[in-house]
């Protein structure tokens, strides 16, 4: 990545490093784009939450801001009818699969889902879609953290962070709708070799992995 480029986001002129992902360029400049799965230090983005859609002039359709590098003269719009529709549906899908109990949730008020709902005027309740609760057991066997897989949005931030700390306790298991974050052989966290650093709880944007209170 060499040099700076000038781009516009929602008409605002911005200078950023060439190749910087649009998501970070926007957030650095106080422009909000919904996002759950991206981690700035990770240079091969998961691009799995599918909420960070933006329009870029000359592109046939919305693209994910966390994968799109800034190039000179790029004109980005964070809102459009198509973007809003995708974000609304994607968010509704996530909420249809998220056990929403904000009142008792450790992340209440610092939760990324609440933030997205507020910023984009979306409801936490999935309107058109049936609720798909997975009914998985909550794991409170670790000393400092508690894991509720029913709240997990499968963003993968904890898995990446856990690997980064050198522990590598967390990983993904299963496929399709059953995909979940778990430990090797699905052992309870308390018996899994977890170092107790709680970096994952910090990384989790929702209330799935949280510090015990």
């Amino acid at each position: 990545m060499s040099g700076k480029v000038r781009i516009t986001i929602d008409g605002k002129a911005i200078e950023t490093a060439a190749g910087e992902k649009i998501l970070w360029a926007a957030l650095d400049n106080g422009i909000y784009i919904p996002h759950l799965c991206s981690i700035r230090e990770n240079h091969s983005p998961f691009a799995s939450c599918r909420l960070c859609f933006v329009e870029i002039e000359g592109y046939p359709g919305p693209v994910t801001a966390c994968t799109e590098g800034a190039a000179e003269g790029m004109a980005v719009r964070t809102r459009s009818e198509r973007v809003d529709r995708l974000v609304r549906t994607g968010f509704e899908m996530i909420m249809s699969n998220h056990r929403t109990e904000c009142g008792v949730c450790p992340k209440n008020r610092s939760c990324a889902l609440q933030k997205i709902a507020k910023e984009r005027g979306l409801r936490l309740k999935p309107g058109r879609l049936e609720k798909l609760d997975r009914n998985l057991p909550v794991d409170d066997t670790a000393e400092s953290i508690i894991y509720d897989p029913n709240k997990c949005v499968l963003c993968g931030r904890c898995v990446w962070t856990c690997k980064k700390t050198g522990s590598g306790t967390l990983g993904f298991a299963k496929r399709g709708f059953d995909r979940m974050v778990t430990t090797f052989l699905e052992a309870p966290l308390g018996e899994s070799g977890c170092s107790g650093c709680s970096a994952c709880a910090e990384a989790c944007p929702v209330g799935a992995l949280a510090l015990k209170r």
Partner: protein
């Protein structure tokens, strides 16, 4: 090896030997038994065994070889008998008795038993040739030319029919020229998306990194697709040659076959082919003496459908979970171990030798301007003749169904054709005359996909069809991204409730909305194309959705929750008890006139009685909506009580 020899000269030397043994083999009688997986499934190996035993017993001077599949899978087991003085004669629907008889009557007594002959390979007075079949006029073989006619485990056969000549020709050219030739041919990838192959190779050539790889994608996970398997099993050297040419064109020293583990015979045959090619100096440190080095290995895939997607395939070869990743970068820029990598489908690579041998213009003479060459389809469903076929791009569905497939089986009527597997769509009768190629299919709302064609008749429910494919993609979704993991799940849920008769008026609009968003929002093409079966059935067969939702009626009488079984009183023979005994839950009783009646409360809709009722009566019928049956029974009772009065 002499450094002054060209690849062509080296090949000529190898081939001279191969031709000698080929001629020798053809001087005596030869029985070639079709023994690909399709033939083996119906007893080809047993038939081959009987041929061998009888030849031995009757002391006939003949050889038996096992060959691949010619595409006439409906007539398997099949064998071609080449007896000097006769045209080559192909016999179909063989069994062990027939095999013994052919040895006795034909090989010993000289009577070719024309009544069992399917076709001959040359014009003669008794037996038609395959070209005389209606399908002979439609079919054209570029890739499958030698499938079923040569021994796939014997490199000499491939050499004798001109094999590896295209590789020698390529090696005499500049690698860039080879890529240019393929680009000029207009060849498009047969793995589904139809990406121009020459451009893909150029992208890889332009990449800075000098370590490069080529991969043959033989994951073939579409339900019902078996074209790639057939080619690998029937003519493995053709694909090896195509991959070697690709490697030379992009400067790759290492190639892989990624073959799904469920294809053991294909794995075995490719391994043998690689081994033999190595021994003949066609692969290895100096390919045909040119100094260009190429090693090719087999990698066995784990079998997940999504692992056929190129980025997931690469991840699984690197030992990582087989999940797709965001593109760009494309594999041609950064693929296996981060190095530029060309991934091509089995069929794509199989056209490459043809193009090298015959030139780009000759290739383009076949097919449509936008999709030159042929297409290979697997025909299944309600057809008289199922199997594989190779036809020029631009052939109409009508020709494929009626000329190649010999039309709809049974006494039923055509309804739709499902084309392209789970990422494809269902097309109605109006589209039968559209010339099919990559672009026309996409425009019509289906996809070439891997080339599976399933013909549906009036007994197939289109909502159930959509549900079936969504069930597949939903299960095969890797689960990484939101739209695919949850979107397909919700679509499946809605389709399930419609087929259960619990559909809501707003469901069709909701399906359309979700389909559009899943298509636009998914990470990889599995998700992006998953809505196609729903979108195409909603577009062409909306009336069936409406019948399910508003009338709780399944017009095809297929959705179990929306039908009931009913015995027509005027057709019931009374003294026959066939249905009564067939019912596993004793739901059928005789009324006072000895007419059989079904107790709807007890009936579990297993279809046994309908099958049991003798064909001369056909008294058991399905009705939809289900309360029709109860209504009719009430009517009967009322009529009866009136009669009694």
């Amino acid at each position: 090896m002499n450094a002054n020899k060209t690849a062509a000269m080296v090949l000529d030397e190898i081939r001279a030997e191969a031709l000698r043994s080929w001629e020798q083999m053809r001087q005596k009688t030869l029985i070639a038994v079709g023994a690909a997986t399709c033939g083996r499934a119906v007893g080809a190996l047993e038939v081959a065994g009987v041929f061998r035993e009888e030849i031995e017993r009757l002391k006939v001077d003949a050889a038996v070889i096992e060959v691949g599949c010619m595409g006439h899978c409906y007539a398997e087991p099949m064998a071609f008998i080449f007896k000097p003085g006769f045209p080559g004669i192909c016999y179909g629907y063989l069994n062990e008795g027939l095999a013994a008889r052919l040895v006795r009557d034909f090989l010993v007594d000289g009577d070719p038993c024309v009544e069992f002959a399917l076709a001959a390979d040359g014009v003669n007075d008794f037996i038609p040739t395959f070209q005389d079949f209606p399908r002979g006029l439609v079919e054209q073989k570029m890739v499958m030319e030698h499938c079923g006619l040569i021994d796939p485990e014997n490199i000499e056969h491939y050499l004798a029919v001109g094999g590896y000549g295209a590789l020698a020709a390529a090696l005499a050219m500049d690698p860039g020229e080879v890529a240019k030739l393929v680009k000029a041919s207009g060849l498009r990838g047969r793995g589904g998306a139809g990406f121009p192959t020459g451009s893909k190779w150029d992208l890889c050539r332009a990449a800075g990194e000098k370590t490069r790889y080529v991969i043959c994608n033989a994951d073939e996970g579409d339900p019902g697709a078996f074209m790639d398997r057939t080619i690998l099993e029937s003519n493995p050297h053709l694909v090896v040659e195509g991959l070697a040419i690709a490697a030379y064109a992009v400067g790759a020293g290492k190639g892989y076959f990624y073959i799904r583990a469920e294809y053991p015979l294909a794995v075995e045959r490719i391994r043998k082919a690689l081994d033999q090619a190595g021994k003949y100096g066609i692969l290895g440190k100096s390919v045909l003496g040119t100094g260009f080095g190429l090693e090719i290995e087999v990698f066995q895939g784990s079998g997940a459908f999504v692992c056929g997607e190129e980025t997931a395939l690469i991840a699984s070869m690197e030992g990582k979970p087989g999940l797709p990743r965001h593109r760009p970068p494309f594999p041609s820029e950064a693929g296996l171990f981060g190095k530029p990598t060309v991934i091509n489908n089995v069929k794509t690579l199989s056209y490459v030798p043809y193009i090298l041998r015959n030139g780009a213009d000759r290739f383009k003479e076949t097919g449509t301007p936008g999709s030159p060459g042929t297409a290979i389809f697997a025909l299944a469903g309600k057809l008289v003749n199922t199997g594989l076929t190779e036809v020029p791009m631009g052939t109409t569905l009508r020709q494929i169904i009626y000329d190649v497939g010999s039309g709809i089986a049974g006494n039923s009527n055509f309804k739709a054709v499902q084309i392209g597997g789970p990422s494809g769509g269902c097309l109605p009768g109006e589209t039968l005359d559209t010339p099919i190629d990559f672009d026309s299919l996409t425009r019509a709302g289906a996809m070439m996909g891997s080339g599976g064609i399933v013909v549906l008749d009036e007994n197939d429910c289109m909502v159930e069809m959509a549900r079936f494919f969504l069930d597949f993609t939903q299960k095969e979704s890797c689960g990484k991204c939101t739209f695919c993991r949850l979107g397909t799940r919700h679509m499946l849920g809605i389709l399930e409730r419609i087929t259960r008769g619990e559909g809501r008026p707003e469901d069709m609009d909701l399906l359309l909305e979700l389909a559009g968003d899943i298509r636009a929002g998914s990470l990889c093409s599995l998700g992006k194309t998953a809505p196609n079966p729903v979108l195409s059935t909603l577009k062409y067969f909306r009336d069936e959705y409406e019948a399910h939702i508003f009338e709780k009626r399944c017009p095809a009488l297929m959705c179990k929750d929306l039908i009931a079984y009913y015995i027509l009183p005027h057709k019931c023979e009374r003294s026959c008890d066939a249905c009564v005994g067939s019912c596993p839950v004793e739901a059928i009783y005789s009324n006072e006139d000895r007419i059989k009646v079904i107790n709807q409360e007890k009936c579990v809709k297993c279809n046994s009685c309908l099958v049991a009722c003798p064909p001369q009566y056909r008294a058991v019928v399905k009705v939809s909506p289900p309360d029709l049956a109860a209504g009719k029974e009430k009517e009967n009772d009322e009529r009866k009580s009136q009669d009694n009065h």
